[in-house]
Amino acid sequence: MSTLPECARERLNLERRAVDVRKDVVRMIGVARSGHLVSSLSIVDIMTWLYWNVLRVSPEEVSSPSRDRFVLSKGHGCPALYATLANRGFFRREELWSYRRLGAMLQGHPASTRTPGVDASSGSLGMGLGIAVGMALAGRLGKAPYRVVCLAGDGEMQEGAMWEAAMAAHHFSLSKILLIIDRNGVQMEGETEEIMGLEPLDAKLESFGWSVAHADGHDFASLGRALAQTDASGLPGAVIARTVPGHGVSFLENGSLRGKDALNRQRVEMALRELETVERTIEVSLSGEEAIS
């Protein structure tokens, strides 16, 4: 029997899932030769946590009216969504290799009409939270207690429509809405605080009537604590998740490659080797502990 506590085992299993998703994100952008790599990698842990730990969704009941809803407002991060959905069984993993191709199920930005498990289309920034507010209002009208999660980029909080939606969520007391902000600190042309400062982001959201919690966006336990905190408030909840652009691939984390840069074949191989090393470490932690016992 393993001496590994159950909670540690769960965490390691989730970390292994996240590595699988990361590897698929790197592969699919490598194959497509386009796509937003660093901003996809920054949300992989959040997506993994949501789809394996938080959202009540299932590939068997993809259209169930009572399912939780997820809106990826930062639509350019869709490789992380697609790889998560594929690994969660919503469609065949083979679909990932036709991402961005003509006629593909997986468009350059999420299209709800094409992809099983994609609840809302997105692409142009600043639209996801308003759609999420509409979904939450529908849930309340239908007395369906589902949760609506909107994952937004930090840069898109510069869009006015996000604040119109934030105002409405508070006005209608939508406690089932959760906004997660991928606070990776960068946008297309540089640092968010240099281009159009967002801080103090927490105080701004709080002044709009939201319950705000901070989290490490690469730490499942930290995300879980933040969610518990906002859930307990009875208010619309926002989690500002501090993340690292390109997280999981060291030469992407250090910022030498930015924005939309896709990887050449050699770089894809480098990234995959690094992720495989992480994967082996997780395997050792899982099985090594067993060996000791």
Binding site: G123, V133, G134, A161
Partner: protein, 321 residues
């Protein structure tokens, strides 16, 4: 027929009430314009299914999309300028591209809004909306047809836009008439001299023009082209094959609206002279609705002149249809 005048925007409240009784999933969203759009009557009757999002048209459209994604039947209304102008990208990305069955209603279309002036007088809404693939675009000419067309929009599988006006108008149709559908048209007067395609407030003007033309022995055929997209192509072509010339009249910029839609149809399938009665390259301004209608030339007299112009150049060899 009654001499009572009533605006097409009043039909929004009437239709919403009718549909609200029937369709339990119906929700009306608003951007704080309910007393102007007449959504207020629905709000009083069904307060739990009426959502005022405040002065935030972009958010109203996004909320409408979210509701529709969760199987609600959604109507979203505001002044045409603010709904179509302010929230165009939201309409395009969140409603038209995913082909969501959201019914958008733009009130206060055209110059006959009156004293509020250019910012409030939308003359390019039909152009913007008919550019969107799958978007049905309707422009009714009186209260009964507006009620019926809003109900027709509700039965449409995809997104729809209904353009309404503020100016009280006499009735064209019998109040019990409900024979309107997406892609349809109504021949209000038959004739073989000139085809007049019109919509909205220009229908009444077209009928008056037809009377004047008949005194000059030109029998005009008047078609209510209320469905601007999809266009009732067969009805228009069939008429023009008989008349050999066409006038198009609308309360909209000449660019992008019914005039261009009909001209393009005829160019492709049966080229004939086409004259237009529409607003040229000028924005609106303040004035009474009647003064503005006259100033911008949206009158029966202009239709008569246009008809003479087209008729003089008419195609004389009838085509095979």
């Amino acid at each position: 027929m009654t001499t009572e005048r009533i605006s097409t925007r009043d039909a929004y409240g009437t239709a919403l009430l009718q549909l609200g009784e029937r369709v339990e999933s119906l929700v009306a969203v608003d951007a704080d314009a309910a007393s102007s759009t007449r959504a207020s009557v629905f709000a009083s009757r069904f307060p739990e299914r009426y959502l005022n999002l405040g002065i935030s048209e972009q958010n109203m459209v996004l909320v409408a999309a979210g509701l529709a994604l969760c199987e609600r039947t959604v109507f979203a209304a505001s002044f045409a300028s603010f709904l179509v102008g302010r929230a165009y990208e939201q309409i395009r990305d969140a409603i038209a591209i995913p082909s969501l069955p959201v019914r958008l209603v733009g009130t206060h279309g055209g110059v006959t809004v009156g004293e509020d002036g250019a910012t409030h007088q939308m003359l390019e809404d039909i152009a913007l909306m008919r550019l969107l693939p799958g978007m049905a675009v309707l422009c009714p000419s009186d209260h009964p047809s507006a009620v019926a067309q809003i109900c027709a929009a509700n039965a449409w599988k995809g997104p729809a836009y209904v353009r309404l006006g503020r100016m009280p108008l006499p009735l064209v149709y019998d109040p019990s008439d409900t024979d309107f559908h997406i892609g349809g048209a109504r021949i209000l007067r038959e004739g073989d001299g000139v085809t007049i395609c019109a919509c909205g407030i220009l229908i009444r003007e077209a009928l008056e023009a037809a009377t004047i033309l008949s005194q000059q022995n030109i029998n005009a055929e008047v078609i209510d082209c209320y469905s601007i997209s999809p266009l009732p192509s067969e009805i228009i072509l069939s008429s023009v094959h008989r008349t050999g010339c066409c006038v198009v009249a609308e309360e909209h910029f000449l660019k992008g609206g019914l005039c261009e839609a009909v001209s393009h149809l005829l160019c492709e399938h049966y080229p004939v002279p086409v004259s237009s009665v529409a607003v040229r390259d000028f924005f609106g301004q303040s004035g009474t609705p009647e003064e503005l209608q006259e100033y911008y030339g949206l009158t029966s007299e202009r239709i008569v002149s246009a008809a003479f112009q087209a008729w003089t150049l008419r195609r004389r060899s009838p085509g095979v249809f």
